[in-house]
Amino acid sequence: MGKLFVWDRFFENIPKILPYLSVTFSIVVYATLFGVLLGISIVLVQIKKIPVLVQIVKVYVSFMRGTPMLVQLMLVYYGIPALFDPVFGTNINREWGAVNFAYVTFILNQGAFLSAIFYSAITSISYGQTEAGLSVGLTEFQTFHRIVLPQMVKTAMPPFGSDLVGLFQNSSLVFLIGVTDIMGRAKTIGTATKHVLEAYVFIVLIYIIISLGVRLLFFRLNNKMSFGKEEMG
């Protein structure tokens, strides 16, 4: 069996794994960009109380928050072909790369989680702020854009940061549908060399660095936008 952990193998793995960081990042970037758009749309539906859509959105958000990411990933992976193939006569499973299923799942998931963050941020700002804006002669759009939005961004920033850390971590699940991200790559190295611990330890380090980096970034952003309030570190 030999030694469990060998430094040489650890260093050999680094160049084999690092390129796959781009897969992890692409999932996070797509999920964040489109998740923000989806989240904003959901909040608009909730605030404007658009009939029917409001109920649909409520069920959707509850489902996304109440089921495991892993199950959602599998639902999309098996569900999209099951739903679309018979209707459009396609063969999605073969035509699509597995990573596309990951994009879809993470966008849908982030949309729901971010909508909850945005919604609570927007409702946390007192209506008096809007009234004050209108009373000094700002238009509704100016009031939203200059007074409400900056305060909303500040309120949403800390939960958005935690969400981003969680997103990076959750992206490690995509190897279960056969996507080769850094986790998937570590597994394939394990299969090929029969030594996987060094690869796992290396990706653990990557995840820790990313998580600390994101936290630090948001901590700085938060301090920049303190608006005179002392915050606990």
């Binding site: 489902f63 986790m183 820790i208």
Partner: protein, 236 residues
């Protein structure tokens, strides 16, 4: 659209049959998390020298590790080293006798300890410093003040966050299927490998989880009404 209702029902039954496994994957880590999480939070908030700092570093770093990656590592070590350990302890067991659900429970417990310690710490920090001083001023020791004054006030603040932790644990418990433990997801898809109705299997699993988390959250809503009545004042 292809959706086989019969296969869905079968999966639902299989999934529910493995609910007890999920329950132990949630309940044991929850108890361990509450115990050690509270201790870590107290150690950090009351700034116990060295240990407080070590715990802060540990929690911050450990929370950066995805649970599935930690799980794979623990499982690997367990698989490779259990026989050595058993021999060392003179146990008459080998790896084949052991159920690796304990690896899942261990991984989930570690995560629970960290996240619960953060929730409890947040609740502790929300309590006014004057409460400690008032405790000391009437002659209570630090431990007495924590037990009789601080913790009772902290509980209602911590409950919403703890409920989030429970829901998070329920969802996180699904990753143990990656090391071959059969719980709701793996259970619900047992029939799928025969019928090829994987979609139905995962829908069944989703429904069970969804029901589970909705029940937990509605219980939490009720709990909120019972606890913390004394927190209410004229201003809120």
């Amino acid at each position: 659209m292809n959706f086989n209702l019969e296969h869905f029902k079968e999966s639902l039954i299989y999934g529910l049959a493995y609910l007890p496994n999920t329950l132990s994957l949630v309940f044991v880590p929850l108890v361990i998390g509450l115990t050690f999480g509270t201790v870590i939070a107290l150690v950090r908030v009351y700034k116990v020298p060295v240990i407080g700092w070590l715990m802060a570093v540990f929690v911050t770093v450990y929370q950066g590790i995805p649970i599935v990656v930690a799980l794979m590592i623990y499982n690997l070590i367990f698989m490779l080293k259990f026989n050595d350990l058993a021999a060392f302890l003179h146990l008459k067991k080998s790896i084949s006798d052991m159920n690796n659900i304990w690896v899942g429970i261990f991984a989930l417990s570690m995560a629970a300890v960290c996240s619960i310690s953060e929730a409890v710490r947040g609740a502790l920090l929300s309590i006014d410093k004057g409460q400690n001083e008032a405790g000391y001023s009437v002659g209570l020791t630090t431990i007495q003040t924590i037990r009789r004054i601080i913790i009772p006030q902290m509980i209602p603040v911590a409950i919403p966050m703890l409920i989030n932790n429970v829901v998070g644990l329920i969802k996180a418990s699904s990753v143990v299927m990656a090391i071959g433990i059969v719980e709701i997801v793996a259970g619900a898809t047992i029939p799928s490998s025969r019928t090829y109705s994987f979609f139905e299997g995962y829908v069944a699993a989703a429904v069970i989880y969804w029901g589970f988390t909705v029940v937990v959250e509605s219980l939490a809503q009720r709990l909120k009404k019972y606890t913390g009545k004394f927190r209410r004042n004229l201003y809120d």
